[in-house]
Protein backbone atom coordinates (compact mmCIF):
# COMPACT_ATOMS: atom_id res chain seq x y z
CA UNK A 1 0.00 0.00 0.00
CA UNK A 2 1.15 3.52 -0.73
CA UNK A 3 2.45 5.71 2.11
CA UNK A 4 -0.21 7.36 4.21
CA UNK A 5 -0.71 11.06 3.62
CA UNK A 6 -0.95 11.47 7.36
CA UNK A 7 2.18 9.78 8.53
CA UNK A 8 4.27 9.24 5.46
CA UNK A 9 4.80 5.60 6.43
CA UNK A 10 4.12 2.59 4.30
CA UNK A 11 1.89 -0.26 5.40
CA UNK A 12 1.65 -3.87 4.37
CA UNK A 13 -2.15 -3.91 4.19
CA UNK A 14 -5.40 -2.20 5.25
CA UNK A 15 -5.24 -3.50 8.82
CA UNK A 16 -1.68 -2.30 9.26
CA UNK A 17 -2.61 1.04 7.68
CA UNK A 18 -5.44 1.46 10.15
CA UNK A 19 -3.18 0.79 13.15
CA UNK A 20 -2.21 4.37 13.91
CA UNK A 21 0.26 5.30 16.57
CA UNK A 22 -0.41 8.07 19.12
CA UNK A 23 1.35 10.70 17.03
CA UNK A 24 -0.75 9.90 13.99
CA UNK A 25 -3.94 10.05 16.04
CA UNK A 26 -2.96 13.37 17.56
CA UNK A 27 -2.06 14.85 14.17
CA UNK A 28 -5.31 13.60 12.73
CA UNK A 29 -7.29 15.14 15.58
CA UNK A 30 -5.47 18.42 15.14
CA UNK A 31 -6.32 18.41 11.46
CA UNK A 32 -9.92 17.67 12.33
CA UNK A 33 -10.00 20.61 14.72
CA UNK A 34 -8.57 22.96 12.12
CA UNK A 35 -10.71 21.50 9.36
CA UNK A 36 -13.92 22.06 11.34
CA UNK A 37 -12.89 25.52 12.47
CA UNK A 38 -12.00 26.60 8.94
CA UNK A 39 -15.52 27.01 7.45
CA UNK A 40 -16.63 29.01 10.45
CA UNK A 41 -13.79 31.49 10.15
CA UNK A 42 -14.05 31.71 6.38
CA UNK A 43 -17.84 32.04 6.63
CA UNK A 44 -17.39 35.12 8.77
CA UNK A 45 -15.18 36.72 6.16
CA UNK A 46 -17.54 35.92 3.33
CA UNK A 47 -20.60 37.46 4.87
CA UNK A 48 -19.92 40.43 7.13
CA UNK A 49 -23.57 40.93 8.16
CA UNK A 50 -22.78 39.06 11.39
CA UNK A 51 -20.85 42.10 12.59
CA UNK A 52 -24.09 44.04 12.80
CA UNK A 53 -26.40 41.27 13.97
CA UNK A 54 -24.09 39.34 16.27
CA UNK A 55 -21.86 42.07 17.65
CA UNK A 56 -23.44 45.52 17.49
CA UNK A 57 -27.13 44.76 18.05
CA UNK A 58 -26.53 42.48 21.07
CA UNK A 59 -24.60 45.38 22.58
CA UNK A 60 -27.82 47.39 22.42
CA UNK A 61 -29.66 44.60 24.26
CA UNK A 62 -27.09 44.73 27.03
CA UNK A 63 -27.43 48.52 27.08
CA UNK A 64 -31.17 48.16 27.71
CA UNK A 65 -30.45 46.39 31.00
CA UNK A 66 -27.92 49.08 31.92
CA UNK A 67 -30.64 51.68 31.41
CA UNK A 68 -32.98 49.70 33.64
CA UNK A 69 -30.45 50.05 36.45
CA UNK A 70 -29.96 53.71 35.58
CA UNK A 71 -33.71 54.27 35.76
CA UNK A 72 -33.65 52.62 39.20
CA UNK A 73 -30.62 54.76 40.20
CA UNK A 74 -28.64 51.66 41.09
CA UNK A 75 -25.05 51.84 42.44
CA UNK A 76 -22.49 51.96 39.58
CA UNK A 77 -21.22 48.42 40.26
CA UNK A 78 -24.50 47.05 38.96
CA UNK A 79 -23.89 48.63 35.56
CA UNK A 80 -20.61 46.73 35.56
CA UNK A 81 -22.40 43.50 36.48
CA UNK A 82 -24.63 43.90 33.43
CA UNK A 83 -21.71 44.67 31.13
CA UNK A 84 -19.77 41.64 32.37
CA UNK A 85 -22.86 39.44 32.04
CA UNK A 86 -23.49 40.76 28.53
CA UNK A 87 -19.93 39.89 27.55
CA UNK A 88 -20.24 36.33 28.88
CA UNK A 89 -23.52 35.68 27.03
CA UNK A 90 -21.50 35.69 23.81
CA UNK A 91 -19.77 32.48 24.93
CA UNK A 92 -22.92 30.90 26.27
CA UNK A 93 -24.75 31.51 22.98
CA UNK A 94 -21.80 30.12 21.09
CA UNK A 95 -21.91 26.99 23.21
CA UNK A 96 -25.61 26.29 22.81
CA UNK A 97 -26.17 27.41 19.21
CA UNK A 98 -22.89 26.57 17.51
CA UNK A 99 -21.87 23.55 19.53
CA UNK A 100 -24.63 21.86 21.51
CA UNK A 101 -27.19 22.17 18.74
CA UNK A 102 -24.68 21.78 15.94
CA UNK A 103 -24.73 17.98 15.67
CA UNK A 104 -28.50 18.21 15.44
CA UNK A 105 -28.10 20.56 12.47
CA UNK A 106 -25.53 18.26 10.95
CA UNK A 107 -27.96 15.38 11.26
CA UNK A 108 -30.63 17.51 9.64
CA UNK A 109 -28.33 18.40 6.79
CA UNK A 110 -27.13 14.86 6.26
CA UNK A 111 -23.55 15.46 7.38
CA UNK A 112 -23.63 13.50 10.62
CA UNK A 113 -23.02 10.13 9.02
CA UNK A 114 -19.95 11.58 7.34
CA UNK A 115 -18.58 12.55 10.75
CA UNK A 116 -19.16 9.03 12.02
CA UNK A 117 -17.65 7.46 8.94
CA UNK A 118 -14.54 9.64 8.95
CA UNK A 119 -11.55 8.33 10.93
CA UNK A 120 -11.50 11.07 13.54
CA UNK A 121 -12.58 11.75 17.08
CA UNK A 122 -15.95 13.49 17.39
CA UNK A 123 -14.56 15.59 20.24
CA UNK A 124 -12.01 17.00 17.83
CA UNK A 125 -14.85 18.02 15.52
CA UNK A 126 -16.69 19.68 18.40
CA UNK A 127 -13.54 21.42 19.55
CA UNK A 128 -13.08 22.69 16.01
CA UNK A 129 -16.60 24.09 16.07
CA UNK A 130 -15.84 25.82 19.35
CA UNK A 131 -12.60 27.26 18.04
CA UNK A 132 -14.21 28.48 14.83
CA UNK A 133 -17.06 30.12 16.70
CA UNK A 134 -14.71 31.64 19.25
CA UNK A 135 -13.65 34.43 16.90
CA UNK A 136 -17.09 36.00 16.68
CA UNK A 137 -17.81 35.30 20.36
CA UNK A 138 -14.58 36.95 21.48
CA UNK A 139 -15.26 39.97 19.30
CA UNK A 140 -18.79 40.27 20.67
CA UNK A 141 -17.59 39.95 24.24
CA UNK A 142 -14.80 42.45 23.60
CA UNK A 143 -17.18 45.03 22.11
CA UNK A 144 -19.68 44.67 24.95
CA UNK A 145 -16.94 44.91 27.55
CA UNK A 146 -14.87 47.73 26.09
CA UNK A 147 -17.61 49.89 24.59
CA UNK A 148 -19.90 49.24 27.54
CA UNK A 149 -17.17 50.19 29.99
CA UNK A 150 -16.33 53.37 28.11
CA UNK A 151 -19.91 54.40 27.39
CA UNK A 152 -21.42 53.71 30.78
CA UNK A 153 -18.42 54.69 32.88
CA UNK A 154 -17.90 51.27 34.47
CA UNK A 155 -14.89 51.16 36.79
CA UNK A 156 -13.27 47.80 37.45
CA UNK A 157 -11.17 47.20 40.51
CA UNK A 158 -9.06 44.09 40.01
CA UNK A 159 -6.56 42.95 42.64
CA UNK A 160 -5.96 39.38 41.45
CA UNK A 161 -5.45 39.48 37.69
CA UNK A 162 -4.01 35.98 37.61
CA UNK A 163 -6.99 34.45 39.34
CA UNK A 164 -9.39 36.47 37.18
CA UNK A 165 -7.79 35.15 34.00
CA UNK A 166 -7.70 31.63 35.41
CA UNK A 167 -11.39 31.79 36.30
CA UNK A 168 -12.22 33.14 32.84
CA UNK A 169 -10.43 30.29 31.06
CA UNK A 170 -11.83 27.70 33.46
CA UNK A 171 -15.31 29.07 32.78
CA UNK A 172 -14.75 28.76 29.04
CA UNK A 173 -13.44 25.20 29.44
CA UNK A 174 -16.42 24.21 31.59
CA UNK A 175 -18.87 25.89 29.22
CA UNK A 176 -17.46 24.12 26.19
CA UNK A 177 -17.33 20.83 28.08
CA UNK A 178 -21.01 21.28 28.86
CA UNK A 179 -21.61 22.12 25.19
CA UNK A 180 -19.95 18.88 24.09
CA UNK A 181 -22.06 16.94 26.56
CA UNK A 182 -25.25 18.62 25.40
CA UNK A 183 -24.39 18.06 21.74
CA UNK A 184 -24.49 14.31 22.28
CA UNK A 185 -27.92 14.62 23.88
CA UNK A 186 -29.25 17.01 21.27
CA UNK A 187 -28.39 14.62 18.48
CA UNK A 188 -30.61 11.99 20.03
CA UNK A 189 -33.58 14.36 19.93
CA UNK A 190 -35.72 15.56 17.10
CA UNK A 191 -37.27 19.00 17.04
CA UNK A 192 -37.20 19.25 20.82
CA UNK A 193 -33.49 20.02 20.44
CA UNK A 194 -34.44 23.22 18.72
CA UNK A 195 -36.82 24.19 21.49
CA UNK A 196 -34.25 23.23 24.10
CA UNK A 197 -31.87 25.88 22.74
CA UNK A 198 -34.62 28.40 23.39
CA UNK A 199 -35.08 27.11 26.91
CA UNK A 200 -31.36 27.41 27.54
CA UNK A 201 -31.40 31.16 27.02
CA UNK A 202 -33.58 33.43 29.19
CA UNK A 203 -34.38 30.80 31.84
CA UNK A 204 -30.66 30.04 32.08
CA UNK A 205 -29.83 33.76 32.21
CA UNK A 206 -32.23 34.12 35.10
CA UNK A 207 -30.89 31.27 37.23
CA UNK A 208 -27.30 32.23 36.37
CA UNK A 209 -27.79 35.79 37.60
CA UNK A 210 -26.74 37.34 34.34
CA UNK A 211 -27.66 40.88 35.39
CA UNK A 212 -27.50 40.63 39.16
CA UNK A 213 -25.49 38.77 41.82
CA UNK A 214 -26.68 35.16 41.67
CA UNK A 215 -26.49 34.89 45.46
CA UNK A 216 -29.66 37.01 45.64
CA UNK A 217 -31.62 34.02 44.33
CA UNK A 218 -31.02 32.11 47.58
CA UNK A 219 -31.27 28.34 47.23
CA UNK A 220 -31.83 28.58 43.47
CA UNK A 221 -28.64 30.62 43.18
CA UNK A 222 -26.69 28.10 45.26
CA UNK A 223 -27.95 25.31 43.02
CA UNK A 224 -26.90 27.28 39.94
CA UNK A 225 -23.41 27.79 41.37
CA UNK A 226 -23.10 24.07 41.91
CA UNK A 227 -24.33 23.07 38.45
CA UNK A 228 -24.05 25.83 35.84
CA UNK A 229 -20.61 27.05 34.73
CA UNK A 230 -22.01 30.39 33.57
CA UNK A 231 -23.39 31.10 37.04
CA UNK A 232 -20.31 30.18 39.03
CA UNK A 233 -17.83 31.68 36.52
CA UNK A 234 -19.71 34.95 36.25
CA UNK A 235 -20.05 35.26 40.01
CA UNK A 236 -16.34 34.61 40.56
CA UNK A 237 -15.39 37.10 37.85
CA UNK A 238 -17.67 39.74 39.37
CA UNK A 239 -16.11 39.26 42.79
CA UNK A 240 -12.65 39.59 41.27
CA UNK A 241 -13.42 42.45 38.87
CA UNK A 242 -15.18 44.53 41.55
CA UNK A 243 -13.10 43.72 44.57
CA UNK A 244 -13.71 46.08 47.47
CA UNK A 245 -17.29 46.74 46.42
CA UNK A 246 -19.95 47.18 49.09
CA UNK A 247 -22.22 44.74 47.26
CA UNK A 248 -22.86 41.60 49.27
CA UNK A 249 -22.50 38.67 46.87
CA UNK A 250 -23.50 36.03 49.40
CA UNK A 251 -21.59 33.31 47.54
CA UNK A 252 -18.35 31.34 48.09
CA UNK A 253 -15.01 33.10 47.56
CA UNK A 254 -13.52 33.24 44.04
CA UNK A 255 -10.91 30.63 45.04
CA UNK A 256 -13.63 28.16 46.01
CA UNK A 257 -15.58 28.96 42.87
CA UNK A 258 -12.44 28.35 40.80
CA UNK A 259 -12.25 24.89 42.37
CA UNK A 260 -15.89 24.27 41.53
CA UNK A 261 -15.08 25.22 37.95
CA UNK A 262 -12.17 22.76 37.88
CA UNK A 263 -14.58 20.04 39.02
CA UNK A 264 -17.04 21.03 36.32
CA UNK A 265 -14.38 20.90 33.61
CA UNK A 266 -13.38 17.38 34.61
CA UNK A 267 -16.94 16.10 34.99
CA UNK A 268 -18.35 17.69 31.84
CA UNK A 269 -15.46 16.60 29.63
CA UNK A 270 -15.55 13.06 30.99
CA UNK A 271 -19.32 12.84 30.57
CA UNK A 272 -19.06 14.31 27.09
CA UNK A 273 -16.52 11.64 26.15
CA UNK A 274 -18.71 8.83 27.48
CA UNK A 275 -21.87 10.17 25.87
CA UNK A 276 -20.23 10.82 22.52
CA UNK A 277 -18.80 7.31 22.49
CA UNK A 278 -22.22 5.90 23.31
CA UNK A 279 -23.80 7.96 20.59
CA UNK A 280 -21.21 6.86 18.06
CA UNK A 281 -21.77 3.23 19.01
CA UNK A 282 -25.51 3.66 18.58
CA UNK A 283 -24.96 5.29 15.25
CA UNK A 284 -22.83 2.43 13.99
CA UNK A 285 -24.96 -0.38 15.43
CA UNK A 286 -28.46 0.89 14.80
CA UNK A 287 -28.04 3.56 12.15
CA UNK A 288 -30.96 5.51 13.54
CA UNK A 289 -29.06 8.59 14.55
CA UNK A 290 -28.57 9.57 10.95
CA UNK A 291 -32.27 9.51 10.13
CA UNK A 292 -33.60 12.99 9.42
CA UNK A 293 -36.90 14.71 9.79
CA UNK A 294 -38.65 13.87 13.00
Amino acid sequence: MAGSILTGRTASGPLAAAAWDRRAILLNDLRSVLGRAYPRVIGLRREPSWLLFEVLLPFLTTSAFVFVYRALQAPPEYLGFVVLGGAMTAFWLNVIWMMAAQLYWEKDQGNLELYFAAPMDLMAVLFGMALGGMLSSCLRAFVVLVVGTALFGVTFSVEQWGLLLLVFFLTLAALYGLGMMLSSLFVLWGREAWHMTQLLQEPMYFVSGLNFPVGRLGFLGALAIALIPLAVGLDAMRQLAFSGTAVDFGTPSPEVEALILVGMVVVFLALARVLLRTMERLARHEGRLTVRGR
Binding site: L60, F67, V68, A71, L72, A74, W105, H195, Q201
Partner: protein, 322 residues
Protein backbone atom coordinates in the same frame (compact mmCIF):
# COMPACT_ATOMS: atom_id res chain seq x y z
CA UNK B 1 -64.81 15.61 -19.89
CA UNK B 2 -65.71 11.94 -19.89
CA UNK B 3 -64.06 9.18 -17.97
CA UNK B 4 -61.93 8.00 -20.89
CA UNK B 5 -60.02 11.23 -21.41
CA UNK B 6 -57.43 12.84 -19.19
CA UNK B 7 -57.67 16.34 -17.80
CA UNK B 8 -55.52 17.57 -20.70
CA UNK B 9 -57.80 16.00 -23.28
CA UNK B 10 -55.65 12.98 -24.15
CA UNK B 11 -56.56 9.37 -23.53
CA UNK B 12 -56.75 8.43 -19.88
CA UNK B 13 -53.98 6.27 -18.44
CA UNK B 14 -54.45 2.99 -16.64
CA UNK B 15 -55.00 4.72 -13.25
CA UNK B 16 -57.94 7.00 -12.56
CA UNK B 17 -56.79 10.56 -11.90
CA UNK B 18 -58.96 13.34 -10.51
CA UNK B 19 -60.49 15.48 -13.18
CA UNK B 20 -59.07 18.96 -13.62
CA UNK B 21 -61.37 21.54 -12.16
CA UNK B 22 -61.00 24.79 -14.14
CA UNK B 23 -62.74 26.73 -11.37
CA UNK B 24 -59.68 26.28 -9.21
CA UNK B 25 -57.70 28.43 -11.58
CA UNK B 26 -60.43 31.02 -11.87
CA UNK B 27 -60.95 31.89 -8.24
CA UNK B 28 -60.23 35.45 -7.31
CA UNK B 29 -56.84 36.29 -5.82
CA UNK B 30 -58.37 37.35 -2.50
CA UNK B 31 -59.89 33.96 -1.87
CA UNK B 32 -56.75 32.19 -3.05
CA UNK B 33 -54.63 34.36 -0.81
CA UNK B 34 -56.88 33.72 2.16
CA UNK B 35 -56.74 29.99 1.56
CA UNK B 36 -52.94 30.10 1.25
CA UNK B 37 -52.70 32.14 4.42
CA UNK B 38 -54.98 29.79 6.37
CA UNK B 39 -53.10 26.70 5.15
CA UNK B 40 -49.74 28.24 5.97
CA UNK B 41 -50.96 29.29 9.41
CA UNK B 42 -52.27 25.78 10.12
CA UNK B 43 -49.02 24.23 8.93
CA UNK B 44 -47.03 26.70 11.02
CA UNK B 45 -49.05 25.89 14.11
CA UNK B 46 -48.58 22.16 13.62
CA UNK B 47 -44.85 22.62 13.18
CA UNK B 48 -44.71 24.71 16.33
CA UNK B 49 -46.93 22.53 18.46
CA UNK B 50 -46.88 18.90 17.38
CA UNK B 51 -43.32 18.02 18.39
CA UNK B 52 -44.34 17.15 21.94
CA UNK B 53 -47.30 16.72 24.26
CA UNK B 54 -49.41 19.82 25.10
CA UNK B 55 -48.11 20.19 28.66
CA UNK B 56 -44.46 20.23 27.64
CA UNK B 57 -45.28 22.54 24.75
CA UNK B 58 -46.99 24.90 27.18
CA UNK B 59 -44.01 24.85 29.54
CA UNK B 60 -41.55 25.55 26.74
CA UNK B 61 -43.75 28.35 25.41
CA UNK B 62 -44.10 30.27 28.66
CA UNK B 63 -40.69 29.57 30.23
CA UNK B 64 -38.87 32.15 28.14
CA UNK B 65 -41.17 35.16 28.69
CA UNK B 66 -41.61 34.36 32.37
CA UNK B 67 -37.85 34.06 32.86
CA UNK B 68 -37.33 37.38 31.04
CA UNK B 69 -39.80 39.05 33.35
CA UNK B 70 -38.22 37.45 36.43
CA UNK B 71 -34.76 38.76 35.50
CA UNK B 72 -36.15 42.29 35.53
CA UNK B 73 -38.25 41.74 38.63
CA UNK B 74 -35.19 40.59 40.59
CA UNK B 75 -33.22 43.59 39.31
CA UNK B 76 -35.96 45.94 40.53
CA UNK B 77 -36.27 44.08 43.82
CA UNK B 78 -32.53 44.23 44.56
CA UNK B 79 -32.29 47.96 43.96
CA UNK B 80 -35.66 49.28 45.14
CA UNK B 81 -36.40 46.85 47.95
CA UNK B 82 -40.06 46.35 48.83
CA UNK B 83 -41.56 49.86 48.91
CA UNK B 84 -44.19 51.44 46.67
CA UNK B 85 -41.51 52.50 44.19
CA UNK B 86 -40.53 48.85 43.82
CA UNK B 87 -44.14 47.83 43.24
CA UNK B 88 -44.52 50.43 40.51
CA UNK B 89 -41.21 49.49 38.90
CA UNK B 90 -42.11 45.81 39.08
CA UNK B 91 -45.44 46.40 37.35
CA UNK B 92 -43.72 48.47 34.68
CA UNK B 93 -41.13 45.82 33.80
CA UNK B 94 -43.55 42.89 33.95
CA UNK B 95 -45.95 44.52 31.50
CA UNK B 96 -43.14 45.54 29.14
CA UNK B 97 -41.35 42.22 29.14
CA UNK B 98 -44.63 40.29 28.74
CA UNK B 99 -45.54 42.33 25.69
CA UNK B 100 -42.06 41.82 24.35
CA UNK B 101 -42.78 38.11 23.98
CA UNK B 102 -45.13 39.12 21.16
CA UNK B 103 -42.43 41.12 19.47
CA UNK B 104 -39.75 38.44 19.62
CA UNK B 105 -42.04 35.69 18.40
CA UNK B 106 -43.61 37.88 15.73
CA UNK B 107 -40.32 39.06 14.30
CA UNK B 108 -38.85 35.56 14.54
CA UNK B 109 -41.92 33.84 13.10
CA UNK B 110 -41.84 35.30 9.62
CA UNK B 111 -38.06 35.41 9.37
CA UNK B 112 -37.62 31.85 10.60
CA UNK B 113 -40.15 30.56 8.09
CA UNK B 114 -37.65 31.58 5.40
CA UNK B 115 -34.76 29.88 7.17
CA UNK B 116 -36.81 26.82 8.14
CA UNK B 117 -38.00 26.20 4.63
CA UNK B 118 -34.72 27.02 2.94
CA UNK B 119 -32.18 25.44 5.26
CA UNK B 120 -33.98 22.69 7.19
CA UNK B 121 -36.85 21.40 5.12
CA UNK B 122 -35.50 22.58 1.74
CA UNK B 123 -39.01 23.46 0.59
CA UNK B 124 -38.63 27.18 -0.07
CA UNK B 125 -38.08 26.77 -3.79
CA UNK B 126 -41.27 24.70 -4.11
CA UNK B 127 -43.26 27.22 -2.10
CA UNK B 128 -41.85 29.98 -4.21
CA UNK B 129 -42.95 28.45 -7.51
CA UNK B 130 -46.38 27.47 -6.16
CA UNK B 131 -49.24 29.65 -7.49
CA UNK B 132 -49.67 31.64 -4.28
CA UNK B 133 -48.20 34.89 -3.12
CA UNK B 134 -44.90 34.10 -1.42
CA UNK B 135 -45.37 36.85 1.14
CA UNK B 136 -48.83 35.57 2.10
CA UNK B 137 -47.39 32.10 2.76
CA UNK B 138 -44.57 33.51 4.88
CA UNK B 139 -46.88 35.70 6.94
CA UNK B 140 -49.23 32.75 7.44
CA UNK B 141 -46.37 30.65 8.74
CA UNK B 142 -45.30 33.44 11.07
CA UNK B 143 -48.76 33.81 12.60
CA UNK B 144 -48.36 30.53 14.49
CA UNK B 145 -45.34 31.84 16.37
CA UNK B 146 -47.20 35.03 17.20
CA UNK B 147 -49.90 32.86 18.74
CA UNK B 148 -47.26 31.10 20.84
CA UNK B 149 -45.80 34.48 21.83
CA UNK B 150 -49.28 35.72 22.70
CA UNK B 151 -49.78 32.76 24.98
CA UNK B 152 -46.49 33.51 26.74
CA UNK B 153 -47.40 37.18 27.06
CA UNK B 154 -50.84 36.41 28.50
CA UNK B 155 -49.45 33.93 31.03
CA UNK B 156 -46.71 36.36 32.10
CA UNK B 157 -49.22 39.17 32.55
CA UNK B 158 -51.53 36.88 34.49
CA UNK B 159 -48.64 35.81 36.74
CA UNK B 160 -47.73 39.48 37.15
CA UNK B 161 -51.25 40.39 38.22
CA UNK B 162 -51.68 37.38 40.49
CA UNK B 163 -48.26 37.16 42.15
CA UNK B 164 -46.25 40.30 41.48
CA UNK B 165 -48.68 43.07 42.28
CA UNK B 166 -49.33 44.38 38.79
CA UNK B 167 -52.40 46.63 39.26
CA UNK B 168 -55.22 45.44 37.00
CA UNK B 169 -58.94 46.15 37.21
CA UNK B 170 -61.01 44.76 34.35
CA UNK B 171 -63.77 47.27 35.03
CA UNK B 172 -61.34 50.20 34.71
CA UNK B 173 -59.69 48.92 31.53
CA UNK B 174 -60.31 50.73 28.25
CA UNK B 175 -61.13 47.69 26.09
CA UNK B 176 -61.86 49.55 22.82
CA UNK B 177 -58.47 51.27 23.07
CA UNK B 178 -56.88 47.92 23.83
CA UNK B 179 -58.47 46.36 20.73
CA UNK B 180 -57.31 49.20 18.48
CA UNK B 181 -53.72 49.27 19.75
CA UNK B 182 -53.46 45.47 19.62
CA UNK B 183 -54.47 45.42 15.96
CA UNK B 184 -52.06 48.23 15.13
CA UNK B 185 -49.29 46.66 17.17
CA UNK B 186 -49.67 43.23 15.63
CA UNK B 187 -49.60 44.71 12.12
CA UNK B 188 -46.40 46.56 13.05
CA UNK B 189 -44.85 43.39 14.49
CA UNK B 190 -45.67 41.36 11.38
CA UNK B 191 -44.23 44.18 9.25
CA UNK B 192 -40.99 44.01 11.23
CA UNK B 193 -41.03 40.24 10.73
CA UNK B 194 -41.40 40.73 6.97
CA UNK B 195 -38.47 43.14 7.09
CA UNK B 196 -36.37 40.50 8.84
CA UNK B 197 -37.52 37.86 6.34
CA UNK B 198 -36.26 40.14 3.58
CA UNK B 199 -32.88 40.25 5.29
CA UNK B 200 -32.80 36.49 5.95
CA UNK B 201 -33.51 35.82 2.27
CA UNK B 202 -30.11 37.36 1.61
CA UNK B 203 -28.11 35.90 4.47
CA UNK B 204 -26.64 32.55 5.41
CA UNK B 205 -27.93 29.80 7.64
CA UNK B 206 -26.52 31.31 10.80
CA UNK B 207 -29.15 34.05 10.60
CA UNK B 208 -31.31 32.26 13.17
CA UNK B 209 -30.23 34.69 15.84
CA UNK B 210 -30.69 37.82 13.70
CA UNK B 211 -34.41 38.40 14.43
CA UNK B 212 -33.80 38.17 18.16
CA UNK B 213 -30.84 40.53 17.85
CA UNK B 214 -33.03 43.10 16.11
CA UNK B 215 -35.79 42.64 18.68
CA UNK B 216 -33.19 43.02 21.43
CA UNK B 217 -31.94 46.27 19.91
CA UNK B 218 -35.51 47.60 19.70
CA UNK B 219 -35.91 46.67 23.36
CA UNK B 220 -33.62 49.62 24.11
CA UNK B 221 -35.64 52.10 22.09
CA UNK B 222 -39.30 51.54 22.86
CA UNK B 223 -39.70 52.05 26.58
CA UNK B 224 -40.57 48.43 27.26
CA UNK B 225 -38.76 48.10 30.56
CA UNK B 226 -37.73 51.65 31.43
CA UNK B 227 -39.22 55.05 30.56
CA UNK B 228 -37.82 56.69 27.43
CA UNK B 229 -36.91 59.72 29.56
CA UNK B 230 -33.81 57.83 30.74
CA UNK B 231 -32.39 57.81 27.21
CA UNK B 232 -30.53 60.68 25.52
CA UNK B 233 -32.90 62.91 23.44
CA UNK B 234 -31.51 61.71 20.08
CA UNK B 235 -32.29 58.08 20.93
CA UNK B 236 -35.69 59.10 22.28
CA UNK B 237 -36.43 60.61 18.85
CA UNK B 238 -35.67 57.29 17.18
CA UNK B 239 -37.81 55.50 19.77
CA UNK B 240 -40.78 57.76 19.07
CA UNK B 241 -40.63 56.78 15.40
CA UNK B 242 -40.97 53.07 16.21
CA UNK B 243 -44.60 51.85 16.29
CA UNK B 244 -43.83 49.42 19.12
CA UNK B 245 -43.24 52.39 21.44
CA UNK B 246 -46.81 53.54 20.91
CA UNK B 247 -48.19 50.01 21.02
CA UNK B 248 -46.66 49.36 24.43
CA UNK B 249 -47.75 52.80 25.67
CA UNK B 250 -51.25 52.10 24.33
CA UNK B 251 -51.56 48.72 26.06
CA UNK B 252 -50.35 50.28 29.32
CA UNK B 253 -52.84 53.12 28.94
CA UNK B 254 -55.68 50.72 28.14
CA UNK B 255 -55.14 47.96 30.69
CA UNK B 256 -52.88 49.37 33.38
CA UNK B 257 -53.59 53.14 33.60
CA UNK B 258 -52.16 53.27 37.13
CA UNK B 259 -48.60 52.58 35.93
CA UNK B 260 -46.17 55.31 34.91
CA UNK B 261 -45.97 56.41 31.27
CA UNK B 262 -43.17 54.96 29.15
CA UNK B 263 -43.26 57.89 26.71
CA UNK B 264 -43.81 61.02 28.79
CA UNK B 265 -42.61 62.22 32.17
CA UNK B 266 -39.92 64.51 33.52
CA UNK B 267 -36.97 64.83 31.15
CA UNK B 268 -38.74 63.10 28.28
CA UNK B 269 -38.60 64.50 24.78
CA UNK B 270 -42.36 64.07 24.46
CA UNK B 271 -43.06 66.28 27.48
CA UNK B 272 -40.46 68.83 26.42
CA UNK B 273 -41.98 69.15 22.94
CA UNK B 274 -45.71 68.91 23.70
CA UNK B 275 -45.79 70.27 27.22
CA UNK B 276 -47.98 67.33 28.29
CA UNK B 277 -47.00 64.98 31.08
CA UNK B 278 -47.99 61.89 29.07
CA UNK B 279 -49.73 61.16 25.79
CA UNK B 280 -53.47 60.47 25.96
CA UNK B 281 -55.32 57.73 24.11
CA UNK B 282 -56.00 59.75 20.90
CA UNK B 283 -52.35 60.79 20.60
CA UNK B 284 -51.20 57.21 21.13
CA UNK B 285 -53.59 55.79 18.52
CA UNK B 286 -52.68 58.45 15.99
CA UNK B 287 -48.95 57.98 16.48
CA UNK B 288 -49.32 54.19 16.36
CA UNK B 289 -51.27 54.30 13.10
CA UNK B 290 -48.86 56.75 11.45
CA UNK B 291 -45.71 54.85 12.41
CA UNK B 292 -47.29 51.47 11.59
CA UNK B 293 -48.25 52.62 8.09
CA UNK B 294 -44.72 53.90 7.58
CA UNK B 295 -43.07 50.68 8.77
CA UNK B 296 -45.49 48.41 6.87
CA UNK B 297 -44.96 50.19 3.56
CA UNK B 298 -41.20 50.19 4.05
CA UNK B 299 -41.20 46.49 4.94
CA UNK B 300 -43.30 45.55 1.90
CA UNK B 301 -41.05 47.55 -0.40
CA UNK B 302 -37.85 46.09 1.03
CA UNK B 303 -39.27 42.57 0.90
CA UNK B 304 -40.11 42.90 -2.79
CA UNK B 305 -36.63 44.25 -3.53
CA UNK B 306 -35.06 41.41 -1.55
CA UNK B 307 -37.27 38.82 -3.24
CA UNK B 308 -36.26 40.08 -6.69
CA UNK B 309 -32.59 40.04 -5.72
CA UNK B 310 -32.84 36.55 -4.24
CA UNK B 311 -34.51 35.29 -7.42
CA UNK B 312 -31.92 36.98 -9.57
CA UNK B 313 -28.96 35.55 -7.64
CA UNK B 314 -30.36 32.08 -7.03
CA UNK B 315 -30.67 32.49 -3.27
CA UNK B 316 -34.12 30.90 -2.97
CA UNK B 317 -32.80 27.34 -2.99
CA UNK B 318 -29.39 28.02 -1.49
CA UNK B 319 -28.45 26.12 1.63
CA UNK B 320 -25.49 27.12 3.69
CA UNK B 321 -23.76 25.97 6.79
CA UNK B 322 -20.65 26.46 8.82
Amino acid sequence: MDATTSSLGGPAGPTTRPAFDPRRAERGPKRANWRAFATAARLGWQMEANWTDPLLFFIYSVAKPIASALILVVMVQIISGGGPAAAQGRAFVVIGSALWAFVISGVQGVAWSVLDDRERYRMLKYLYVSPTDFLVVLVGRGVARIAVGGMGAAITLAAGVLFLGVPFDAAQADWPLFAVVMVGGLVAIVALGVLMAAICLQTRQESWSYPEAVAGALFLLVGAVFPLAVLPPAIQTVGLLVPLTWWIAGVREALFPATISSVGGNGSLYTDVTGQAAPGAPAIVLALLATTVLVTLTAALIFRISEARAKDRGLIDRTTGS
